[in-house]
């Protein structure tokens, strides 16, 4: 196996080129593909996938890298989405949006104020500041929730965070807070991006930050906690401090993801932020591989593309040219759930396991591809041969056992005593190898 090695500079250049290419690609895709084209779904999937990738990576930071099983993601996204939306609804639209609450309590918009004084720069700044603000608010709330909750053990932590998410949802729908949150009604007409590049860029920067964190000393401490809490503590890792840090940072990015989701949807209501949403994000993490950032990203795009685009035919009656009675609404989700169960049971590592993407790995793979392909038939043959042999061995052993049994039965029938059993060994269980 030949392995490609690159020096640091080349890798850096390659990474920058790759990122530039992705950004340019997403910009052009949004600009060039007309709204009524079949490929427009590509842009939709790109945007939603980028958002889900960010949220999944932030969940992976907790579940995969720190070993904290938290199910509060949807609740944190909810706060992020609402915070962003509330502060960017243009003043003139308040009467419309808050129609049941006399125009609401807040009568200004950060985006409007800034774009009024700073023009186009202000427009983007006016969207960025609420996004970061949304993240910070979520981080603060997560900090407060974390103080009691993070002392709990794995499954209790899961159920407690899930509970908090439900409480937050009820809170945001509460009529008394209506002048701010619009109660049960949707928030809309807030500022949103003009091109997919905005979402993709923010998601990229956020994910890059999380990756840097994972590779820092903090990240190593997180992994130590995941692998063995007690050993980590013995090595001088402050458990609570590091758990709290991971929880707060993960929630910050969940909040940012929520804000981006609000921009993507154009309207925000609290109802869709259910535990089902958290489960979906968790399943993305599982598909990609718990403990792999690259995996979460791939998982997010695959999940979004399949559920929103490629598998839709399964609901509509015809998919890939196959028409079937079975393809009724809901079939897509059944297929999806079955695939997920198969991954959980038979490919627990997910797509990437704990591996990450690297240029060296990719190039090595391509370089070795011809050799591997050439070797594949032989390898498969050897595998098949081994399987066959094992089968034959099994068969022979079975036949032997049968014969023995028949023999002994015959002998016993003929009154012949084979041997005296040793009473001492009667109840000792002998462990067979490989079981």
């Amino acid at each position: 196996m030949a392995r490609v090695t690159l020096n640091k500079k080349t890798k850096l250049v390659l990474s920058f080129l790759g990122i530039a290419l992705i950004l340019l690609g997403s910009y052009l895709a949004d600009e060039m593909i007309p709204a009524s084209s079949n490929m427009r779904m590509f842009v939709t999937v790109l945007e939603k996938g980028a958002i889900y990738a960010l949220v999944a990576v932030s969940m992976n930071l907790l579940n995969g890298f720190t070993g904290l099983f938290s199910l509060g993601q949807a609740g944190f996204m909810l706060i992020g989405a609402y915070t962003y939306a509330i502060f960017t609804i243009p003043a003139a639209k308040h009467a419309d949006v808050y129609m049941y609450f006399d125009g609401g309590a807040i009568q200004w918009s950060i985006e409007e104020a800034l774009s009024g004084s700073l023009g186009i720069v202000g427009h983007y700044l006016g969207m960025l500041i609420p996004i970061i603000g949304a993240g910070l608010l979520v981080a603060l709330i997560a900090y407060l929730i974390g103080i009691p909750v993070l002392r709990l053990k794995s499954d209790y932590l899961a159920i407690a965070t899930l509970g908090f998410a439900e409480i937050l949802k009820a809170f945001f729908q509460w009529n008394t807070l209506g002048p701010i949150t619009n109660g049960s009604n949707v928030l809309r007409k807030y500022a949103t991006y003009d091109n997919s590049i905005f979402v993709v860029l923010i998601a990229l920067i956020s994910i890059a930050f999380i990756m840097l964190l994972i590779n820092s000393t903090y990240g190593r401490a997180f992994k130590a906690i995941r692998d063995d809490e007690i050993a980590a503590e013995a090595m001088g890792v402050n458990l609570f401090k590091h758990k709290e840090l991971a929880f707060v940072i993960s929630s910050f990015f969940a909040g940012v993801g929520g804000a981006l989701l609000a921009m993507f949807q154009g309207t925000i209501a609290a109802t869709p932020f259910t535990t089902t949403m958290t489960y979906e994000i968790l399943l993305i993490v599982v598909i990609g591989g718990i403990g792999s950032v690259t995996g979460s990203i791939i998982g997010a795009f695959l999940f979004t593309a399949c559920s929103e685009w490629w598998l839709r035919g399964l609901d509509a009656g015809t998919w890939l040219g196959i028409t079937s009675e079975w393809f009724r609404p809901g079939f897509r989700k059944v297929v999806f759930a079955v695939i997920i169960m198969l991954i959980v049971l038979f490919a627990a590592q997910g797509i990437m396991g704990t591996k990450e993407f690297s240029w060296e790995g990719l190039l090595s793979w391509f370089k070795n591809l011809p050799a591997n392909l050439k070797a594949a038939p032989a390898k498969n043959k050897a595998k098949a041969q081994a399987k066959k042999e094992a089968k034959a061995r099994d068969k022979a052993a079975k036949a032997q056992a049968k014969e023995d049994k028949a023999n002994s039965a015959a002998k016993a029938a003929s009154g012949e005593k084979l041997f005296e059993p040793l009473p001492v060994y009667d109840h000792v269980v002998v462990f067979k190898e490989g079981k």
């Binding site: 939709t44 639209k93 129609m99 049941y100 049960s184 809309r188 949807q265 109802t271 869709p272």
Partner: protein, 392 residues
């Protein structure tokens, strides 16, 4: 295993891209076919209603599968997509419709998803006709959205007027937390009812709640004269059951969602007093009634989607009307191009519909001045017409 998985997934990707590119069409008309998008929930909270509305549209398509534009006859094909009653899925579902090259879109049942999808239709310039989404915000800021039904402020006021005229002084209002439809209707009802001099007790129940025991008990405890709960069919069935169990002793008042055979089925054999306002009265157009019932008896899928029997829901009739309006719009536009359809819609006037004539006002809402008031005959389990009620 992992390699096989990766291979299958990549194969899937390539395949779908091929399919995607192959079937591409950028204009509304593709040869002899015109596509009309159906944007309705088939699952989630509003799944039942969405399916009944879709039935009406499908029946319309069965009655008139073609449309003549200019001199050419086109086949009309329905592109049905499930928005899952979920705001976050609605955007992608709408994009799916737009991407498949529809000339116009019909739907949705439930206003929140329509509001969420409005931006997508706006960006693509594809006109949409709301069938029974009654929230004023659907059409308010979107030039592409029209609708053929009345609005919440109207319906809320009508219900309040009816309650006041029937001598009810204190109303118990129950809405669902996070459901803009019921919250909106309660809001307008409250405004109108208190303006008339009535008193209102307002409560909300959380999502997925099925236990209405305490809400019925609350209404009794507070000494209300009427139980007003314009909520989804799912909740309606449970409310009726509890009202029966606790002998509620006051009339139940609700909006258009309750005009469903599932409600009458639940109320059959009870001594409840259920009154709703709605778009359509069964029997108003015998020809339509017979036709659609015969179709449902033939088509087992349609029958299942209608809840197992052939009683008509108002939303089904509205769905049929919406389809007819869509055909008229195509004829008036003289082309299947979404932009032409959009230009033709504001001045459109459609007569001979099942639920009354349709013309649009400036915001794109239908000009409707009256709603039907219906009462449940709990002995037979059918709706009976009471009167037409106006907002003034």
């Amino acid at each position: 295993m992992k390699k096989v998985l990766a291979l299958t997934l990549s194969l899937l990707m390539v395949l779908t891209f091929c399919v995607g590119c192959g079937g591409g069409s950028d204009s509304g008309a593709d040869g002899d076919t015109i596509k009309i998008g159906v944007f309705e929930p088939a699952s989630g909270d509003n799944g039942a209603g969405g399916k009944q509305e879709t039935l009406g549209i499908q029946y319309g398509n069965k009655v008139q599968p073609t449309v003549t534009i200019g001199d050419k006859e086109y086949n009309v094909e329905l592109e049905i997509v499930d928005n899952e009653s979920d705001n976050s899925k609605a955007v992608t579902a709408a994009q799916n419709l737009v991407s498949s090259g529809v000339s116009m879109v019909l739907g949705s049942y439930g206003s929140a998803v329509s509001i969420a999808a409005a931006d997508t239709f706006h960006e693509a310039g594809v006109p949409a006709i709301g069938v029974t989404c009654t929230n004023p915000q659907v059409t308010a800021d979107c030039d592409e959205y029209f609708r053929i039904c009345f609005l919440d402020p109207f319906q809320g006021t009508v219900l309040a007027n009816y309650a006041w005229e029937s001598g009810m002084k204190k109303a118990y209002c129950l809405s669902k937390l996070g459901d803009d439809y019921s919250v909106g209707l309660v809001n307008y009802f409250k405004k109108a009812f208190t303006a008339l001099g009535g008193e209102v007790v307002e409560e909300q129940f959380p999502d997925k709640n099925t236990d209405f025991t305490s809400y019925v008990a609350n209404a009794k405890k507070k000494g209300c004269d009427v139980f007003y709960s314009p909520v989804s069919i799912e909740a309606a069935v449970n409310i009726i059951d509890q009202a029966k169990a606790q002998k509620i002793g006051m009339p139940i008042l609700a909006g258009d969602t309750w005009d469903s055979n599932m409600v009458t089925a639940a109320a059959k054999g009870t001594d409840l007093d259920i009154v709703v306002t709605t778009f359509y009265q069964e029997g108003g157009n015998p020809e339509f009634d017979e036709g659609i019932k015969a179709w449902m008896e033939e088509d087992s899928d349609a029958l299942t989607n209608n809840g197992g029997n052939t009683d008509l829901a108002a939303v089904t009739a509205m769905g049929y009307d919406a389809y007819m309006v869509a055909l008229e719009a195509l004829k008036a536009a003289g082309s299947a191009d979404p932009a032409d359809v959009l230009a033709a819609l504001p001045s459109l006037e459609v007569k001979g519909l099942v639920c009354g004539d349709v013309t649009f006002n400036e915001t794109g809402d239908a000009n409707k001045t009256e709603a039907f008031v219906k009462k449940c005959n709990c002995e037979k389990g059918v709706w009976e017409f009471v009167k037409k009620q106006s907002a003034n």
